[in-house]
């Protein structure tokens, strides 16, 4: 990740990029972004139950400001792909991702979205990893991951947000690449 930051600085030699005003604004905006990551209610399978448990009383993701699970992609910052993505579902996932406003983040929750999980070999109808479809920021393995793991994934997303620049609307360099074979 350190490389990609340098990449940004090298690629942009504009004198206004790193001045004191912009960097202060960066800090403020990044603080607000990481303090209020609103996930989208996007449950696909088993992992969705653990995602709900993370939002519920015992684990309470709302403590970190991520409580409001938005039903519509337009108001969400984070797409937690929770569960197996099948080939039939894949176009919808892509579409929902496209509907989200920038800056947007994707968390692949669970083995199925990371790589196909237990369905990798014989699952003819299962997408082998959601990163073939949409760029994934953080991978949370597990089948399903515990709520603590999901919270940890959220913290990693927050770490990522710390390094962003307000001027990079498209998140140059930080936007992960699609897996293309």
């Amino acid at each position: 990740m350190a490389e990609s930051i340098q990449e940004i600085n090298l690629n942009n030699d504009s004198p206004t990029r790193d001045n004191i005003l912009i960097t202060s604004v960066d800090q403020l905006v990044n603080w607000t972004r990481r303090s209020s990551v609103w996930p989208m209610t996007f449950g696909l399978a088993c992992c969705a139950i653990e995602m709900m448990a993370t939002g519920a009383s015992h684990y309470d993701i709302d403590r970190f400001g991520s409580g409001p699970f938005r039903a519509t992609p337009r108001q969400a910052d984070l797409m937690i792909v929770a569960g197996t993505v099948s080939h039939k579902m894949a176009p919808r996932v892509k579409r929902l991702f496209d509907q989200m406003p920038e800056p947007k983040y994707v968390m692949a929750m669970g083995a199925c979205t990371v790589c196909g999980g237990p369905y990798i070999k014989h699952g003819y109808h299962v997408l082998k990893g959601v990163d073939r479809l949409i760029p994934v920021d953080v991978y949370v393995p597990g089948c399903p991951p515990r709520p603590e793991a999901l919270l940890e994934g959220l913290f990693r997303i927050q770490d990522k947000m710390k390094r962003e620049r307000v001027l990079d609307r498209e998140r140059i360099g930080l936007r992960p690449k699609l897996l293309v074979e």
């Binding site: 449950g43 919808r92 369905y119």
Partner: protein, 385 residues
């Protein structure tokens, strides 16, 4: 010259708004997963609807033909992921049925029953909670999750997983349970009984909730039978059918419990409220079974020693059904003597239960549509397999 326009007598039925096609799902907050239903509406009234499933088709039956019997248990977890214990149990019983002289130890049978019933409570808790959320009450959902968390922590101590347990296996269970776990289960029984009252106060006796669910989505007995509906949905229509009583498997014949059926107490027999109420009452009955099983659990081995090495059931076919929390979960297993099944067919209760949505939602409102889908309590992992 044109004939003068003569206004017709006005009748309310002449007023027609334009029909609209509304696509609900596969990503919608209250379709319980990736279920999609296309609704043809006239204003708020549902004229017709068409269900589309398959967005979570994970090729369960192909996997059973490709991996060994013991590995298949793992995939049964992910069918109805809210009742993994019941799925494990059904598959294990199906495999055991292929053998002619397999004896399952008493202790294992008791552990199976305890786990299956605790899981039924957990599953019904989630069903009730999400149902409340569909109707618009968010707080009961969190109360249900709070109590469900207690069951999950028991399961976690038993088998190390919170959701997909892979615990009940052909020949017994994976690990033994010790006294601390039994104490935890007893504690939970004590804790949970008064909590059921809380759900009553928040939902069952809430006037708005009753008005939203009573007389909505009435599922007649005949329709239920012809669609092969089972579980709480069928019992909500007043049919007293429960495989734990009617076709006892494992050791269910030894326990004393009631089978709650819908009575139409707040509306019509077979409405959403009845289906909801059956679930609430079943939790208490499951609790009774757990208490009985925990109090009489014997010592002994937790798995049979007749299975050594690879699990190779003899050639043959078997069909088994168990009463899962959503209805009768069946497995048709065909073995050709190898350690991999020749064919496994899963008869999923949700698959039947959701197929009648078109019939019972006709004429309802959009808000009712949500209530009906919620009351059928589907799990897409099981519908799509």
């Amino acid at each position: 010259m044109n004939a003068p326009h003569i206004p017709k007598a006005f009748a309310a039925s002449d007023v027609r708004s334009e029909e609209m096609l509304l696509n609900m799902g596969p990503q919608h907050p209250s379709t319980h997963g990736v279920f999609r239903v296309v609704i043809r509406t006239d204003g708020e009234i549902v004229i017709d609807s068409e269900s589309h499933v398959g967005y979570l088709h994970r090729c369960f039956e192909k996997h059973c033909e490709s991996v060994s019997f013991l590995q298949s248990v793992l995939y049964t977890d992910r069918l109805d992921y809210l009742t993994s214990m019941g799925n494990n149990l059904a598959f294990s019983l199906g495999v055991e049925r292929l053998f002619t002289d397999l004896v399952i130890p008493e202790r294992a049978e008791h552990i199976r029953v305890i786990c299956a019933e605790l899981n039924r409570i957990a599953s019904h808790l989630l069903a009730i909670g999400t149902y409340g959320m569909d109707i618009g009450a968010i707080t009961p959902f969190l109360y249900c999750f709070r109590d469900r968390e207690k069951i999950l922590s028991i399961f976690e101590s038993i088998c190390g997983q919170r959701l997909n347990y892979n615990y009940v296996r052909p020949g017994g269970v994976a690990y033994d349970i010790d006294d601390s776990m039994i104490a935890a289960i007893k504690d939970f029984c004590k804790y949970f009984r008064p909590k059921a009252q809380e759900y009553d106060d928040l939902l069952s006796n809430n006037d708005i909730f009753v008005r939203r669910t009573a007389n909505v989505g009435v599922l007649s007995k005949e329709l239920a039978l012809s669609y092969g509906v089972t579980g709480p949905c069928l019992r909500g229509s007043g049919v007293k059918r429960d495989l734990r009583r009617d076709l006892p498997y494992s050791i269910y014949s030894r326990f004393d419990f009631e089978i709650p059926v819908g009575t139409g107490e707040r509306g019509t027999l077979g409405d959403c409220y009845d289906r909801y109420m059956v679930r609430v009452r079943e939790m208490i009955e499951s609790l009774r079974i757990v208490e009985q099983a925990v109090s009489q659990i014997p010592d002994g081995p937790f798995k049979t020693d007749q299975i050594k090495g690879k699990l190779r059931p003899p050639k043959g076919e078997s069909f088994i059904r168990v009463e899962n929390s959503r209805g009768e979960l069946g497995f048709y297993i065909i073995s050709d003597g190898k350690d991999v099944a020749y064919r496994v067919k899963c008869r999923a209760p949700s698959f039947h239960n959701i197929s009648l949505l078109t019939d019972i939602s006709r004429g309802a409102m959009i808000a009712d549509m949500v209530a009906i889908i919620g009351s059928l309590d589907i799990v897409m992992g099981e519908v799509d397999r």
